[in-house]
Amino acid sequence: MNLLRFYGDHAREAFGLLGQHLVLVGASTLLAVAIGVPLGVLLTRRPAWRGPVLGLANVFQTIPSLALFGFLIPLPLLGGIGARTAIVALVVYALLPIVRNTYVGISGVDPAVREAGRGMGMTDRQLLTMVEIPLGLGVIFAGVRVATVVGVGTATIAAAIGAGGLGVYIFRGVSTVDDTLILAGALPAALLALIADGLLGWVERRLGRG
């Protein structure tokens, strides 16, 4: 009940932070798709690059998020304090599931279908856009879903480098040992993750049926 009273008193601020959170996750996921899907496609064309690229993405994934945010601060262009740095870090985390699922989704297309397409005289681009991406879309989208859900959680830490978002309440709550404040940030973040998961999961199932 304390929580409801808190939201009642701080509605404007809470919605502002929620908005920032959505922007952080939305922008970083979109960027990660824009980079990750072409990269995943490239790996299916250059199998030798698969090990190094996925390995590197894996290594990034293992860096503790708070540390990664910290590492980025001193960097020129990408770094500094604020939302831009946070988005860069979130993109780095979102890349692995998206690249990997794009690669897996496209490699998973029935080889007979691919051979038929090439044998019929599709160019590589036509094979990709007419056959491989449509058939791999369900798996590719599953990667986007995972990236989004993880992003919602990781974005709470972005508050540590002044990027705003729901993490602001959590950090403030932790430093003042105030459970209500922590909940005020954590609960909507968790709900957001659940909603994103459900919504994107629904889209994914529709695409998978293709």
């Binding site: 007979a112 279908v113 051979e115 038929a116 044998g119 019929m120 005289g121």
Partner: protein, 236 residues
């Protein structure tokens, strides 16, 4: 023509010194055991594999004068696994090459109806179906219709009836035999089934270890004293 694995000068060639011609209305059956180079030979024709020696000519023109995808649109291709696009309808599958070639939609639709009828599938019943809703035999009918769509002068068939149940296989073989004469196309038909080869081929080529061990009419094949051919005849 011949074919070696790239960067592998020392190992034996997968296909060597294979020479044949296929005229319009003629079906050349390539027989042979697994690994004898039948499928490789087929893929050398439509450049899914590039010959490392020799030349392939389509209607007098070297296949290397065209870009591979342009060449392949002029050569029908049917494989055992069929490879229908599961996210396309039957009509979209059959109309694929015409669509790639930029035909007008109504011309494609008319051609699709004509071809479905030709392979014994009622267009009104089948055009809008998903490949998933077809039996194996129906799928391969669609596969054959798709290969014929842009009226290519040459058709390559790689064990097209190999995965079908025996009854459906015989049914399709019989219909295919009737179709061969009407279409007047050159065909290269790969199989390891001698009976199928004798039934459908105007000529038979027997491949052994990458070479063409025998080439002749079914009658010559039956009477041949070649040890490889005899082995095959005994198996039939």
């Amino acid at each position: 023509m011949s074919y070696r694995l790239p960067g592998n000068g020392k190992r034996e060639a997968l296909v060597s010194d294979v020479t044949f011609t296929v005229g319009a209305g003629e079906t050349l059956v390539l027989l042979g055991r697994s690994g004898s180079g039948k499928t490789t030979t087929l893929k050398l024709i439509n450049r899914l594999l590039e010959p490392t020696g020799g030349e392939v000519r389509l209607q007098g023109e070297a296949t290397t004068t065209l870009e591979p995808h342009r060449l392949r649109r002029r050569i029908g291709y049917v494989i055992q696994e069929i490879g229908l696009f599961p996210h396309f309808t039957v009509a979209q599958n059959v109309g694929l090459v015409p669509r790639l070639e930029g035909w007008a939609p109504d011309r494609i639709a008319a051609r699709v109806r004509e071809l479905l009828t030709l392979v014994g599938l009622a267009p009104d019943d089948f055009a809008a179906r998903s490949p998933r809703a077809l039996s194996g035999g129906q799928r391969q009918r669609v596969g054959v219709a798709r290969a014929l769509a842009a009226d290519p002068p040459l058709l390559l068939l790689d064990e097209p009836f190999g995965a079908l149940d025996p009854i459906t296989r015989v049914e399709l073989q019989r219909e295919f035999r009737a179709l061969e004469g009407r279409l007047g196309k050159g065909m290269v038909f790969v199989t390891h089934d001698v009976r199928e080869g004798l039934l459908l081929g105007t000529r038979l080529g027997l491949m052994h270890e990458g070479r063409l061990a025998f080439l002749g009419t079914p009658e010559e094949f039956r009477r041949s004293s070649d040890p490889q051919v005899k082995q095959f005849m005994e198996a039939a």
